[in-house]
Symmetry: C2
Subunit: 151 residues, 2 copies
DNA sequence: TAAGTTGTAACTACCATAGTTACAACTTTT
DNA sequence: AAAAGTTGTAACTATGGTAGTTACAACTTA
């Protein structure tokens, strides 16, 4: 069981949009090339990010843009946008515990709070990190790279 | 995307084993009845818990028992035992970012630390809770239940 | 109008989860 | 030693989600 690669793909393409959109049109084809992920999947992910109010895209002309400042887009926002858990929560509960059994009757009640706390811990950590951090570090590494090649 | 119900099933059956095994043989059939989950699945989960050194089972005679004290079995131990992430981590990364692209070449490096931190946060929370807590609260609720019925 | 792009539907391939059936191996009881 | 009950496991099915693919209408710009 793993959290979908849509999440890392989304972070990747948002980073690309920030870094490249000043100099060029960042199309789904370009993003497909950078991520190694199918262009239709990219467009779907962009659609989810658009619905979440994180990016703008335009039919016809092409090219995606960020809607909010980098520092106001947390990894949590991205995670929620693309990895829909609906109302179910991160943990899946077996559906038919036996109400005749004292444990079966109460296990849900006992566990729910704890599972929610665990999920919260994950989400709080994701909330603490923003695209600004990711882009800054990426830019720094790219800059180092360039220096390395120059010597 | 959700964490498998094997996890909540495992917590459920371990709770049952603790609560019932003094008075009766806790067989996979019994646990299937309490959880509403197929007996073969129960035996598989018990097998994973056995491999992890959490329970003992015996062929033929039947009945599962806890191997370690309740307080030394954390929800993390159970999670790891039944929800194998292998070496992959909780987050799945898209596999072919383009090394020609400065973002594609570095995104993995930039994200890995952050994804690991998020995973850690989840796991630390699970580590902080033990079967002892779960069983204690379950017993307390069962006791309340009984009082309620008595009046 | 032509070229390039997005948005979306429809389909496929693949994999994991969970259920099911079946049965050999084992333990205990009689 | 036979019978009954149980575990461990293999093999198979059903289901659902992820991701890839093809196709095309709607749109924008040159």
């Amino acid at each position: 069981m793993q959290i979908t690669s849509r999440f890392t793909v989304a972070v990747h393409i948002l980073t690309c949009i920030e870094i490249f959109s000043e100099k060029m049109r960042v199309t789904s084809e370009f993003l497909a090339g950078s991520t190694g992920v199918n262009a239709v999947i990219i467009r779907n992910v962009l659609g989810l990010l658009r619905t979440a109010g994180i990016v703008e895209t335009r039919q016809g002309s092409g090219g995606a843009h960020l809607v909010r400042p980098l520092g106001e887009i947390s990894l949590y926002d991205i995670y929620v946008a693309v990895d829909s858990l609906d109302d179910n929560g991160l943990f899946r509960f077996h559906e038919n515990p036996n109400a005749q059994c004292p444990v079966g009757r109460n296990i849900h009640k006992v566990m729910d709070r704890r599972l929610a706390a665990a999920q919260q811990a994950l989400e709080n950590e994701l909330r603490s990190m923003t695209l600004a951090d990711v882009v800054a570090e990426t830019r720094a590494i790219i800059c180092e790279d360039d220096k390395g090649h120059a010597t």
